[in-house]
């Protein structure tokens, strides 16, 4: 992730004073972040998930696609009929649920991360353009975004997946497209706010080129809300991917994506609650963790945004 650039509430002090008064910006950021206990808990949980994702093949007790056909729908170990070799039980094909959930974390993080990157970059660029060219280009971009925002996002995603065909990459693309407008709007709003500031005028007068103005002068100062938005859309990307999987349009089997696991387990809801409950719970907890972190980031990075829901 990009290095967060903390923005302090006091901007009057000169740079030298600031470095004397304050510890390093990172320390200060951590200080603000760690005051939020929820955020720290979220971060801790995310660390576990990231660890699982990175080392999935070593952490997972079984191959997630291996079908143990003698052990279909084995309940979790604490229930009657449970088996210590399948701690969270098995699914309808006798695959180890824990291993699939661990492997699934890889996928969900991948989907979340890549769709954020894929929509963040063009989103920020379009937002900058819209902010810098308020006459013709800006409004046209904004109208386009209005159009996309007017369509219910899930329907749009379904249509895009239908066009591209289901699959991991196409799911990512669909989610990225759907979350594009919020980046554009946010960037534009931030840019419009910054453009009238003195430092921008100063840079202009100093003869900075347009790209320099856009990317070096203005953009870094718009980063705080964007970082917060990126965390939020990271979590909603995971939710959207799961929803697409639930509608049968997600990644291809036997890939263990959480939403797809949930959808295929739906038929067993009366007989084997764990195959339905556990993937859903995993989605909930990870999304919650990311949102908690997002809250913490927002409080730490941008106190002004504290009131935005």
């Amino acid at each position: 992730m990009t290095t967060p650039i903390p923005k302090t509430a006091t901007t009057t002090a000169s740079p030298i004073d600031q470095s004397l008064l304050y510890p390093s910006p990172y320390k200060e950021f951590w200080h603000a972040f760690s005051r939020n206990k929820g955020a720290v808990a979220g971060l801790a949980f995310m660390c576990v998930i990231v660890f699982c994702a990175l080392f999935a093949p070593w952490v997972a007790p079984h191959d997630p696609s291996e079908q143990y056909r003698e052990f279909l729908l084995t309940p979790p170990v604490w229930l009657e009929g449970g088996n210590w070799s399948f701690i969270l039980g098995t699914d309808e094909l006798g695959r180890d649920l824990l291993s699939r959930l661990i492997q699934g974390s890889r996928l969900s993080l991948l989907i979340g991360l890549s769709s954020v990157v894929i929509s963040l970059l063009p989103g920020v660029f379009l937002g900058l353009l819209a902010g810098f060219f308020p006459r013709l280009l800006g409004p046209s971009i904004m109208r386009l975004m209005d159009v996309m925002l007017a369509l219910p996002s899930l329907l749009l995603a379904v249509a895009i997946v239908a066009i591209l065909g289901p699959g991991l990459i196409n799911t990512v693309i669909a989610i990225a497209i759907v979350s594009l407008p919020s980046y554009v709007r946010l960037t534009r709003a931030a840019v419009m706010g910054e453009l009238n500031r003195d430092y921008v005028t100063a840079a202009r007068l100093a003869g900075a080129s347009l790209p320099r103005l856009m990317f070096i002068t203005v953009l870094p100062n718009c980063m705080a809300p964007l970082i917060v938005q990126a965390t939020l859309s990271f979590s909603s990307a995971i939710l959207d991917a799961a929803a697409l999987g639930f509608l049968g349009l997600g990644v291809q089997p036997p890939t263990p994506e959480w939403g797809t696991m949930l959808a295929s387990a739906r038929d067993y809801i009366e007989r084997a609650w764990w195959v339905v409950s556990l993937p859903g719970l995993t989605i909930l907890l990870s999304v919650l963790a990311i949102n908690l972190m997002g809250d913490g980031l927002r409080d730490a990075l941008d106190p002004k945004l504290k009131n935005a829901a």
Binding site: G165, P166, G248, P253
Partner: protein, 531 residues
């Protein structure tokens, strides 16, 4: 004496209570909304159940629970020796429904039959262009070329002339798309300029009169007191549209509906265990299969196709997918109860060594990737396509073939499979009329390679000659022998892996009586009631 009025009142109360009981509606939980009620414009079974089976009748129909033909609107018929002329004698005194939108002035006669058939056959018929996508079933069954003419000789006699002998013709006439409409109602709508009403406010001769339809919620019918086979026992019939099969079952348990169609095969055991419920079951005339594209590299080698057959763990597959005893393992393209089923064909035993040897012999490199197209929602022939595909994938992995599963939306899969993009397609077929031709011609003929439905793209001259011939002869024994030979060719060539012929189930409350489960998967409630 003074007590009399009170007694009378009490009796009246009791009577009306009894009437209230008798009027208990029969609620059937169905799987989806009918597309409309002008059945000739549509193709799905749900639509047929809500129109052809309730509102309409045909000249002939299937005896409940069988594929045998019985007289319906035609009392009797003669077939000429050359098999080209069919003469139908209509049943007198059959009345069309009287509703608030239509009051018939005459009984059903030959004009109604002509109207119903010519509307689809004759491009100059005033109703011909009123269907925006044409008459799909009529056309896909090849009736345009098959029918030379339909004429009436008197008010109660209709003559069909064919261009060539067609053994399954009588059975075709029992299918939904030959339902008999009221010509009088048609004329009335045309005059009023309300042609779309034919689709919303159907009029027929059937056991039930259409009352109301709310999309995605329910269809309501009431009994037709003048039905020619006698008024059906249920006064009110409601189709409660409930797409999720778990929910259908939950509603049945809660007595929100008395009949639930298409329960998941693996929930059947639980239904049987519930003392308040029962299950009707039957070996339906359906097949779930995987086509092997005989035009693609490696699969064009019959040894590879045989190897897949050796590696495919049929027993586990069928048990997992349908539950033990809920399906017959497939060998031939159609189920054992049908004409010409070849009992000499047998599935090979599960033999991975043999399979590996065949693969090696055919020179298929280790780790060759084959694509398998499958749809994203379950249906009667495959309740869980994704599960089925993953089981198959695991089987083939054992002999070094990698299966790339592509779960697709139904429409996309059809479109791409027809273009021959897939190596393998997981598909299914449900018989329309119980005739073997209805399996082999649409799915495995050379014509079907051209139009795309033959996903194996397998055009075998010997096979084709046999099934073409079987179409034209009329004696069942002779036809049976021809089909049996054709199936031997099929078995040697292995263009498909036939997975299973699933049983069909209908779950209902214990007090439901007179329901017949049908091998053609249609549902008719004319004799069903809640006791």
């Amino acid at each position: 004496m003074k007590l009399l009025p009170l007694q009378a009142a009490m009796a009246a109360v009791l009577l009306s209570a009894a009437a209230g009981l008798a009027a208990k509606p029969l609620v059937v939980c169905t799987e989806s909304s009918p597309e409309g009620f002008d059945i000739v414009q549509f193709t799905t079974a749900v639509t047929a159940d809500a129109s052809a089976e309730t509102v309409f009748n045909r000249l002939v129909d299937f005896k409940p629970g069988t594929t045998e033909i019985q007289p319906a609107l035609a009392e009797k018929w003669e077939i000429s020796a050359d098999g080209l002329t069919y003469t139908f004698h209509l049943r007198p005194g059959v009345k069309f429904h009287t509703t608030d939108y239509f009051k018939p002035t005459r009984e059903m006669n030959a004009d109604d039959v002509l109207w119903s058939i010519r509307r689809q056959l004759d491009p100059n018929h005033p109703w011909h262009d009123k269907s925006s996508v044409g008459f799909p079933y009529f056309e896909s069954m090849g009736f345009k070329d098959l029918l030379k003419s339909v004429e009436k000789t008197d008010d109660h006699t209709v003559v069909f002339t064919l261009t060539r002998p067609e053994a399954p013709f009588l059975r075709d006439l029992a299918m939904a798309f030959t339902s008999i409409y009221s010509a009088e109602y048609g004329d009335q709508l045309l005059k009023a300029g309300k042609t779309s009403d034919l689709n919303n406010k159907p009029i027929g001769t059937g056991a039930f009169i259409f009352q109301r339809y709310s999309k995605d919620a329910q269809v309501r019918f009431k009994a037709n007191p003048e039905y020619f086979r006698g008024k059906p026992p249920s006064d009110t019939l409601v189709f409660a549209i409930t797409p999720d099969n778990n929910v259908r079952l939950q509603k049945l348990r809660a007595n929100e509906c008395q009949v639930a169609l298409y329960p998941k095969p693996d929930s059947v055991e639980g239904i049987k265990a519930d003392p308040k419920l029962k299950v009707a079951e039957m070996e339906a005339l359906t097949t779930g299969y995987i086509s092997l594209n005989t035009e693609h590299k490696y699969l064009n080698d019959v040894r590879v196709r045989k190897a897949i057959s050796y590696a495919f763990d049929r027993q586990t597959h069928v048990n997992q997918l349908f539950g033990k005893g809920n399906a017959v393992i497939g060998v031939n393209p159609y189920p054992p109860t049908m004409l010409g089923y070849n009992t000499a064909n047998q599935n090979p035993p599960l033999d991975l060594d043999k399979a590996r040897a065949l693969i090696k012999e055919a020179g298929v490199p280790e780790g060759t990737v084959l694509t398998l197209f499958t749809r994203n929602g379950g249906g009667a022939t495959n309740p869980n396509p994704s599960l089925s595909a993953q089981l198959f994938q695991a089987d083939l992995a054992k002999i070094g073939l990698k299966v790339d599963i592509r779960v697709m939306e139904w429409a996309e899969m059809l479109s791409r499979a027809k273009k021959g993009e897939a190596d393998m397609v997981s598909a299914g077929w449900a018989s329309d009329n119980g005739d073997p031709d209805n399996f082999l011609s649409p799915l495995l003929s050379c014509d079907a390679v051209k139009s795309g439905e033959n996903y194996s793209r397998w055009c075998n001259k010997q096979f084709q000659d046999l099934i073409s011939k079987a179409r034209e002869v009329s004696a069942d024994t002779e036809r049976g022998a021809l089909y049996s030979q054709a199936l031997a060719v099929y078995d040697a060539e292995q263009p498909w892996i036939s997975i299973a012929h699933p049983k069909m189930f209908t779950a209902m409350r214990n007090n439901v009586e007179g329901y017949h489960i049908n091998p053609l998967t249609n549902n008719n409630f004319a004799t069903t009631q809640v006791k």
